[in-house]
């Protein structure tokens, strides 16, 4: 059986209703969905305001790495049915959803929450997307920390 998989780098709005429907099978009873948004105000660590974020991606590699994240999820949680991984790019303002990871399963006690959590953590490690933060007083690239190892 083939399970639905969506991996996408897009400039369009992230439509949760459509994405959820696309990964829902007749055997599906539960979905765990994570979305990230642009914060206009950050209070933790280095408190600051954000005017907008400008996202870019190495698109073909990013979509390939999203597929890899999905394969890793399936290997760890074989009960997961559908997976959607979407990263929006371009100029994104506060309150806008920028990323979505959704996993479906027959039941909620199957690890489907952990699967979605794993998905966003891995996306932030290995999917080649970058953001430049534009603040009231200047702009700077946000730099990640993770250095992939051979095989990743």
């Amino acid at each position: 059986m083939t399970f639905p998989l969506i991996t996408s780098i897009t400039e369009d709005e992230i439509d949760l209703n459509t994405l959820l429907d696309a990964i829902t099978l007749t055997s599906t009873g539960a979905a765990a969905i994570f979305t990230g948004m642009v914060r206009g105000v950050t209070t933790r660590d280095d408190p600051h305001e954000t005017t907008y974020l400008e996202y870019e991606a190495y698109k073909p590699m990013a979509e390939a790495k999203m597929k890899q994240v999905a394969e890793e999820i399936r290997a760890r949680w074989p009960v997961v049915e559908g997976i959607a991984i979407v990263q929006r790019i371009g100029r994104l303002y506060p309150r806008t959803p920028t990323v979505l990871i959704a996993c479906t399963a027959a039941h909620r006690d199957t690890g489907v929450f952990d699967a979605a959590r794993y998905g966003i953590d891995r996306l932030k490690e290995i999917v080649p997307v970058w953001k430049k933060e534009i603040k009231p007083d200047g702009e700077e690239w946000v730099e990640g920390e993770y250095h992939p190892r051979p095989g990743e």
Partner: protein, 83 residues
Amino acid sequence: MNKIKILFFATLRDKAGVRSTEMEIPAGVAVQGLKGILIEQFPNLNSQIMDHCLASVNQEYRFDEDKIPTGAEIAFFPPVSGG
């Protein structure tokens, strides 16, 4: 000789000043060797930057000792910050 395509993203693109370039490199050169060639060619790239950045070859993460295959697409970029 090996004709390859180079892509730069984010801070690396800002430093290189271009999104992409094509060049011919000797057969058998590894990622480390290519970094040296790029540092010579792009005045704002230096070994500190190139040691810190990530590299992909044909859209897979690759490392200093990995040889560059014929006609490869190689990208250089900082640690990712998507989400």
